[in-house]
């Protein structure tokens, strides 16, 4: 089995895959990053679709335009939308998925039947889901009229076309929010370390929290942030925040993905040795305590993986929104959709590449903790 010729065959068999992925993944990613620094599609004298188009390097100009140019407000909206979609979609899916997992863990009759139902939306495409929910969320019908089946008054929420904006903010306040969130997380960690009497890391965390506050107080943020001069064009007309039109998209996404979360958690649950639970029950732990003290801590790596996977789904989200509210709806637009509209509709390839690069960066940043957990889990 280990003779030289066979080993060579083995290596040769792997080469096509390696070369293909080298080109179609790594080389193309590099190309996208390169295109994001050019004027491809911006220069009127160079037709974007011509096969020998000349692209000039313009450095980080596309990124600066995306962040500051008034006409690129759509992109900044898409970042805000993606952020709120991410938060509510992940929290909702994990909560529903965890609830289903725990309920189905109680020696339920017809457990397989319920599991099959809850996981079934995963077999559908996002386009089908989007089409279905678009119909369900018509303002004068669908879900709004469900109460009429029971003789009640219909709801009047204007799902996909709602103009409401919650959690409004302005861009110049973002450093304050980030500082606050960073400080809160670090302070919380410090308190937990103190409770565990781990003084060394407690002081380390407190020091970090102090540094976050110091950076803010010293005005470092203002130096970096304010020169970006993000325009607040007519904030009364287009307030930034959580667009209520996203609620429907979030519900549809949770409907589709919470069964998946349930499947992952169930797999994790089955990996917990049965004697561990029994031992806890013999020791007089109540059912609730078995969950809070034994099962949930054991599920932690699975929860983190799930958050990362769903986070990536949010970063890439495209087809669901496309099918539900169309690619041009500013209240539900996502970066993944803008790559399509800018690139394939408007031929602004360089700007589309810049947006794609930003999405890619976000994916890489969020994949780091995932890989960390996976590797640590291995050891």
């Amino acid at each position: 089995m280990r003779n030289r010729q066979d080993r060579l065959t083995a290596l040769l068999m792997l080469m096509p895959t390696f070369i293909l992925l080298g080109i179609f993944v790594y080389f193309f990613l590099g190309k996208t990053i390169y295109y994001s620094t050019t004027d491809w599609g911006e220069n009127p004298s160079q037709p974007a679709l011509s096969e020998n188009v000349i692209r000039q390097n313009i450095g980080l100009q596309n990124y600066q335009n995306l962040m500051t140019d008034i006409i690129q407000a759509m992109f900044r909206n898409s970042l805000t939308n993606m952020f709120f979609f991410f938060v509510f979609f992940v929290v909702g899916s994990v909560a529903v998925g965890l609830l289903l997992t725990i309920i189905l863990d109680q020696k339920i009759v017809a457990e397989t039947f319920f599991r099959t139902i809850f996981l079934s939306p995963m077999a559908l495409s996002f386009v089908v889901t989007g089409t279905i929910w678009r119909w369900l969320l018509q303002p004068d019908g669908g879900l709004n009229y469900l109460p009429t089946v029971f003789g009640l008054e219909p709801f009047h929420f204007n799902w996909m076309n709602s103009q409401d904006v919650w959690f409004q903010f302005t861009w110049d306040k973002v450093p304050q929010y980030l500082t606050f969130v960073g400080f809160a997380i670090l302070a919380l960690l410090a308190v937990r370390r103190v409770l565990r009497q781990d003084w060394r890391s407690a002081s380390f965390m407190s020091a970090l929290a102090g540094i976050v506050i110091l950076i803010f107080a010293a005005g470092v943020w203002d130096r970096i942030w304010l020169p970006l001069d993000v325009p607040e064009a007519e904030p009364s007309i287009a307030p930034k925040g959580f667009n209520a039109a996203l609620v429907g998209v979030i519900i549809a996404a949770i409907w589709q993905m919470s069964g998946y979360v349930m499947a992952i958690f169930t797999a994790g649950l089955r990996g917990i040795p049965e004697d561990l639970r029994e031992a806890a029950q013999v020791d007089g732990c109540s059912n609730l305590k078995v969950y809070t003290h034994i099962i949930l801590p054991q599920l932690r790596p699975f929860v983190i993986s799930t958050i990362i996977i769903l986070g990536h789904t949010s970063l890439k989200i495209f087809d669901l929104v496309f099918a539900m509210s169309g690619p041009d709806n500013a209240r539900t637009v996502m970066p993944g959709i803008l790559v399509y509209t800018k690139g394939f509709r408007q031929n602004s390839f360089a700007q589309a590449s810049a947006i794609a690069t930003i999405v890619l960066l976000l994916v890489i940043i969020t994949a780091v903790p995932y890989l960390y957990v996976q590797l640590r889990h291995h050891e």
């Binding site: 895959t17 190309k31 339920i108 319920f114 496309f322």
Partner: protein, 282 residues
């Protein structure tokens, strides 16, 4: 004393069980509600579809919407079938060979090659879309199903390789060593030992790739045009128009959802294995 305590516990037990089942049944209704609405609407006479009566059953079944939706899809159903069959089989076969090499042949640089292949699972496809479009155009593959088959085969390789590698690791090395001592080479071992043992691996991979490719939309909408589009693009167009007749998109959604849903219902055990392979690496 003892008796009342006992019945108290029993009472608590039954209340808890009842609550659990009520929750499950409510959950089942919530999960099935959208499915009910789609099927219900697709079977109504278009003239009878009215937003306010979404929840009423059709007065009589109106099957014409299905015929009409199939007619509107035109070649797109067949396109999806061609695409899915070819891309699924190609990516499964290549993935199987890759998995065999990576799990059973200590080749140079394996520790480096495998992670590089795996990272392909993480990339957002928006990140390669524009160079891919350029490449397809220059290779004269843009716009049609053959190009899309190539795309789905290539981007399917990381997951198929991963599933097969994890599957083959379970096959004891001694079995292959014994065959090798009897003079079996690379291909003999694959065709006589590894391949016959991988039937369930192939089922998992084929089901997974089938549903993924059938349901895929981003490549479909950017890399194909007109009569060469797959069914997901056809559905988006059916539903995306301004004056929508809702019976048509709903019938279209049922048609587009039917193949993966059937596969899921019949082979859900294998579907879940594919689902988990993409999320939890072993």
């Amino acid at each position: 004393m003892n008796d009342t305590h006992f019945s108290g516990a029993k009472f608590r037990h039954y209340t808890l069980r009842t609550t659990l089942y009520i929750l499950l049944i409510v959950g089942t209704f919530v999960f099935l509600l959208p499915i009910f609405v789609v099927v219900n609407t697709s079977l109504k006479d278009p003239a009878a579809i009215n937003l306010a009566t979404t929840w009423r059953l059709p007065a009589q079944f109106h099957w014409q919407s299905y015929a009409e939706a199939i007619e509107k899809f035109g070649p797109r159903i067949w396109n999806s079938i061609t695409l899915v069959t070819n891309a699924t089989l190609l990516s499964a076969v290549i993935g199987s060979l890759n998995g065999y090499v990576l799990s059973k042949w200590r080749i140079a640089g394996e520790r480096f090659l495998f992670p590089l292949i795996l990272l392909g699972l993480f990339i957002p496809y928006q990140g390669i879309l524009i160079p891919l479009f350029e490449f397809m155009r220059d290779a004269r593959l843009y716009g049609g199903i053959p190009g899309l088959i190539i795309i789905h085969t290539i981007y399917g390789l990381p997951i198929t390789t991963l599933i097969f590698r994890n599957f083959y690791i379970e096959i004891p090395d001694e079995m292959l060593e014994a065959a090798a001592i009897d003079g079996a080479g690379f291909w003999d071992i694959y065709t006589q030992i590894v391949f016959p043992l991988s039937v369930s691996g192939f089922v998992v991979v084929i089901i997974w790739q089938f549903t993924q490719i059938w349901n895929e939309f981003l490549f479909a909408v950017t890399m194909t045009t007109g009569a060469a589009e797959p069914i997901t693009v056809g559905l988006a167009q059916l539903a995306g128009g301004e004056a929508v007749q809702w019976n048509l998109p709903m019938a279209g959604a049922v048609i587009a959802a039917l193949p993966p849903i059937l596969v899921y219902l019949i082979l859900s055990r294998y579907f879940i294995r594919g689902l988990l392979a993409g999320s939890i690496k072993t």
